[in-house]
């Protein structure tokens, strides 16, 4: 059994719109080990949701179109799977929790049915067994009075409770991978840490790998082992949490970290105060997507896409500053950063 549960290679996703092709995800590659928590960070619009949801083709196509890439899940290339084959993966092996618990449950269907229908779709269980299991799941997702909740509708539950219902639905079949797409962004701070705690516990007890998408660098530090930073549909840096926090080599990652509020401030403050706005994915820049906002941008950045530079221990960055051919000024930026190996693709 391979150590890796998921391996994504050169994955690109576009939307065909009236205005043209929105290149939401461009050439993303990464891998995830079993039981690991990988955090994906980046401003909104950087392609985090589109990328993760396209792994099992959750986006309506058209307009979404997977242009290229391989998705190897548990040793199998699932990128060519059609709807029927993907049903064996979705909900069973890969489960999702979405950002907004107010809209991700069907308002006209009882909680109980929304939990049991997943069970009935995959396991050959009777309705009663499914019900019993659903009550159990709600309880393990931290929902008090699960019996009563079964009979309620989503509007009768608070945001935090609804997100717990989503967790119960997600873990129903003990998936090997949970994709939690900003699961706490819409919730208030105390509920936030409880929900994250629940996810972390399930990660430990079920050995379930987690892709945790978040805006919040503070959350990353407490949850993940590894971080992947996305910008303009591309991966700009990835590595172990420690490397990203203390030795980040990419100007974008650094501005994200600089935008992290201090402990004494409100930790939900948005990261948007990096000057400028993300690129227009209808016509993404030819070179580094961050170039228009980067303080260190050089001539080469605007015209040529930076390649991957391996900094060791799985710490990769995509920035011309780290390129071996970069000048003295660029190296100075890194100020004693350890550059083990530099090379471009």
């Amino acid at each position: 059994m391979s150590e890796q549960i998921l391996k994504v290679e050169h994955f690109s996703v576009s939307f065909d719109t009236y205005a043209g092709e929105v290149q939401a995800v461009r050439d993303v590659s990464f891998a995830l080990n079993r039981g690991e928590i990988l955090s994906i960070v980046g401003e909104s619009g950087s392609g985090k949701s589109v990328m993760t949801q396209s792994l099992v083709k959750l986006l309506p196509a058209p307009p979404a179109r997977i242009k290229s890439g391989k998705v190897i899940f548990d040793g199998q290339d699932i990128s060519g799977y059609r709807f029927k084959q993907l049903r064996q993966i979705k909900g069973q092996k890969i489960a999702y929790i979405f950002q907004d618990p107010m809209t991700s449950l069907n308002p006209t269907v009882k909680i109980g049915k929304q939990v049991t229908e997943g069970l009935l779709a995959h396991a050959s269980v009777s309705r009663q067994e499914a019900r019993r299991k659903a009550v159990e799941l709600l309880r393990s997702a931290g929902i008090p009075n699960p019996d009563k909740r079964m009979e309620q509708y989503p509007h009768e539950l608070s945001g935090g409770m609804r997100q717990r219902v989503m967790i119960a639905i997600a873990i129903a079949m003990q998936p090997q991978l949970l994709v939690a797409d900003e699961p706490t962004t819409a919730l208030d701070v105390t509920i936030q840490s409880q929900i994250l705690g629940t996810i972390k516990d399930l990660n430990r007890s079920l050995g379930m790998a987690v892709i945790l998408i978040t805006h919040d660098m503070g959350v990353v530090a407490g949850m993940a082992q590894r971080v992947m930073v996305m910008y303009g549909g591309r991966v700009v840096e990835s590595g172990a949490v420690r490397d990203i926090f203390y030795h980040s080599a990419h100007p974008y990652t650094r501005s994200l970290l600089a935008a992290v509020p201090r402990l004494d401030a409100d930790s939900t403050a948005p990261l948007e105060h990096i000057v400028g706005s993300p690129p227009d994915m209808l016509a993404p820049p030819a070179g580094c997507p961050f170039a228009p906002r980067c303080r260190y941008a050089m001539e080469v950045c605007r015209s040529h896409m930076p390649g991957r530079t391996e900094l060791g221990d799985g710490h990769d960055t995509y920035c011309w500053l780290c390129d071996s051919r970069a000048g003295e000024t660029a190296q100075a930026f890194l100020r004693g950063e350890r550059v083990v190996h530099s090379g471009t693709e």
Binding site: R87, K90, G91, L105, T108, E117
Partner: protein, 307 residues
């Protein structure tokens, strides 16, 4: 319990509404210039006798009270124009035609409208979608009597596929049903399409998909269910539009329904018939709306009446 209270409240409001309507229409018809018995041939003595016979010589408020008292007993009075026939009798003989036509039109509009709307949403941007859009534009912009004349001319007079008038066999019902139902069909198709598209791209459908449900379960259990629910609220206004539609469509196709009586009663200033039919239609409409609201409250848990 909540449901009972809701229904009771709606019934009370409905009764008050109908009462106001009766009062307003009773006095309004009196304001129409002219009188039901203006004819050159009529002699002055006759006229007085007729006025006395119908109670029209009494003060208006007294007429009103008499009318209300009779109404409480379900008596809508006697027609001024069709001698010796009560409004109740007219309704009894003519309404079945209108009801039949109306129900056919609603059934036609509902089934075809839903079908078109759903197909258009799933085939977004393709041929069926464009076709639905065209139907929607024609259906909502062409009034039913013009549509009536048009289909009558084309399919009855020119092509002779269907009989041009009367209402005695299934073939007779086709053209009026189409003319009357098309507007509703268009509205339903348009709303269904919009509603479906909204639901298809909603988060909870994505959740259903992410659970690994089958296409069938996703479509029936999550998409159709939610998309079609708000369509029920359209039924109220739709029934209203059918009722007004019957007035003209029945005239075009010479169908002996209530709509035709309504038009002739206004032309002839047949006070009791106008008022009687207005009350009847209003009560029918209010009742239908009440039913629609109750049904909607029963099936949509967000209204909070379902236990």
């Amino acid at each position: 319990m909540k449901l009972l209270k809701f229904i009771l409240k709606r019934v009370v409001v409905s009764v008050i509404m109908i009462f106001c309507l009766v009062t307003i229409s009773f006095f309004l018809v009196k304001l129409i210039p002219g009188s039901p018995f203006t004819s050159e041939k009529m002699q002055a003595g006759n006229k007085a006798a007729i006025y006395a016979y119908y109670g029209l010589d009494k003060p208006v408020y007294e007429q009103y009270f008499t009318y209300m008292k009779n109404l409480l007993h379900g008596d809508l009075g006697t027609s001024y124009k069709i001698r010796g026939v009560t409004v109740n009798e007219i309704i009894r003989t003519a309404f079945p035609y209108s009801l039949d036509l109306g129900m056919r039109a609603v059934a036609f509009a509902l089934t075809m409208g839903l079908l078109l709307g759903i197909v258009a949403a799933y085939q977004r941007g393709k041929a069926m979608d464009t076709f639905t859009m065209i139907v929607a534009i024609i259906g909502t912009s062409v009034p039913s009597f013009i549509m009536g004349f048009f289909v009558q001319y084309l399919f009855a007079v020119k092509l002779k596929w269907f009989p041009p008038a009367e209402y005695t066999s299934f073939a007779h019902t086709v053209l009026p049903t189409f003319a009357l139902g098309l507007g509703m069909l268009a509205t339903i198709a348009k709303y269904t399409r919009t509603s479906m598209l909204e639901v298809i791209s909603s988060d909870y459908v994505k959740t259903a998909d992410a659970k690994g449900l089958s296409k069938f379960r996703i479509i029936v259990g999550h998409q159709l269910r939610n998309a079609l629910m708000p369509i029920i609220t359209l039924l109220g206004p739709m029934i209203a539009s059918v009722i007004t539609g019957t007035f003209v469509v029945e005239n075009v196709f010479a169908i002996p329904g209530l709509g035709r009586h309504y038009v002739t009663s206004v032309q002839g200033l047949d006070y009791t018939l106008i008022t009687g039919l207005t009350i009847f239609f209003a009560a029918f409409l209010v009742l239908m709306n009440l039913l629609v609201d109750i049904v909607y409250a029963l099936i949509d848990p967000r209204i909070g009446l379902v236990e």
